[in-house]
């Protein structure tokens, strides 16, 4: 499968999962976290889906286009491990939706990062909130939800916080 095809599948899956998640959390208060701002595509979509939510984006640096950048109060720069551990004090147990787009093309690095971030993400999520991730998280006892039917041929992981 070509990289063009894979990119289309990845983006279709992200759109389907985020759309599903936005509906699921409609009645759950709390901010949204975008872990991995990147080019700002999914941040831009989340902002459109959830215009009244506070959305905080995390990344090492900002290289999204200007129209897909959060304001200075909603961007947290630095290593994900440190930034998310720090966010626990302010947001622990309150985040309605976390989208973590953290994968690279280095499977070992990704597995380590997912393992490192799992506990911080679990501590941030509100009860009934959702965590979407492009890599599998080991969240013991958390049910993994099926992907929406309009997702592309691309793996994604949706968990609901107990």
């Amino acid at each position: 499968m070509s990289r063009l095809q894979r990119m289309i599948d990845r983006l279709l899956t992200q759109r389907a999962c985020l759309h599903f998640a936005a509906q699921e959390i409609a009645d759950l208060a709390g901010p949204v976290f975008e872990i991995g701002l990147g080019k700002g595509r999914t941040y831009s979509y989340l902002r459109e889906l959830l215009p009244d939510r506070e959305i905080y984006a995390f990344d090492r640096e900002v290289h999204a286009p200007a129209d897909a950048q959060p304001d200075a109060d909603h961007i947290v720069l630095g290593d994900f491990r440190d930034a998310l551990a720090d966010a626990g004090a302010r947001f622990g147990g309150r985040v309605a939706l976390i989208h973590a787009d953290i994968g690279s093309e280095k499977p070992e690095r990704d597995a380590q990062l997912a393992a490192d971030l799992g506990p911080s993400l679990a501590a941030l999520a509100a009860s009934g909130g959702l965590i979407l991730c492009d890599r599998e998280l080991s969240l013991a006892a958390w049910p993994r939800l099926p992907l929406p039917s309009d997702a592309g041929d691309w793996d994604y992981f949706i968990y609901r916080a107990p």
């Binding site: 289309i8 595509r41 831009s44």
Partner: protein
């Protein structure tokens, strides 16, 4: 429209046009030109669909993912204004398929480059060759083709070499 939606729209239009063009040139001989390597996604798509073809890639710099990098014999670096005339001298009118992904998002620069590329391609295309482009190409030697279903007019462009 969100940036996610617009990326999906652009990439699905690109894929649909490339697939339609690949079907139109099936069984023909001649090199394929990819103008604008970028990260190598559409090059990878062409390479997968046309495994026996010589695909020559033109760009200013080679910045693709390593597994989407053409070998040195198929990568022609430099300004299109220099490399395309040199290619015409080398290949003549033998090219069966060209994909031009040359937009920068700066309308004036894009229009000027598209005008140059349209003229330069005329000397490279075999009769009946197909051109897929992210910019409108205006040349007497190019006849616009209908776009595949689902691709709105103006989103991507397809041409056949030769008068109607």
């Amino acid at each position: 429209m969100s940036r996610l939606d617009s990326a999906i729209r652009r990439l699905t239009a690109q894929r649909a046009c490339l697939d339609a063009a690949i079907a139109l040139v099936a069984g023909r001989d001649g090199p394929v030109l990819e103008l604008g390597l970028g990260n190598g996604r559409s090059y990878d798509h062409l390479r997968e669909a046309l495994p026996g073809s010589d695909i020559f890639v033109f760009d200013r710099r080679a910045e693709a993912h390593p597994d989407c990098m053409p070998d040195d014999d198929h990568l022609i670096l430099g300004d299109f204004r220099d490399t395309l005339p040199a290619a015409a001298a080398r290949f003549g009118a033998t090219v069966m398929l060209a994909h031009c992904d040359i937009g920068s998002g700066r309308p004036d620069a894009d229009a000027s480059l598209a005008a140059f590329v349209a003229g330069a391609l005329a000397g490279l295309l075999a009769p009946g060759a197909v051109v897929v482009a992210d910019q409108e190409l205006d040349a007497a030697a190019l006849t616009a083709l209908d776009l595949p279903e689902g691709v709105a007019p103006g989103r991507y462009f397809m041409y056949r070499a030769g008068s109607p």
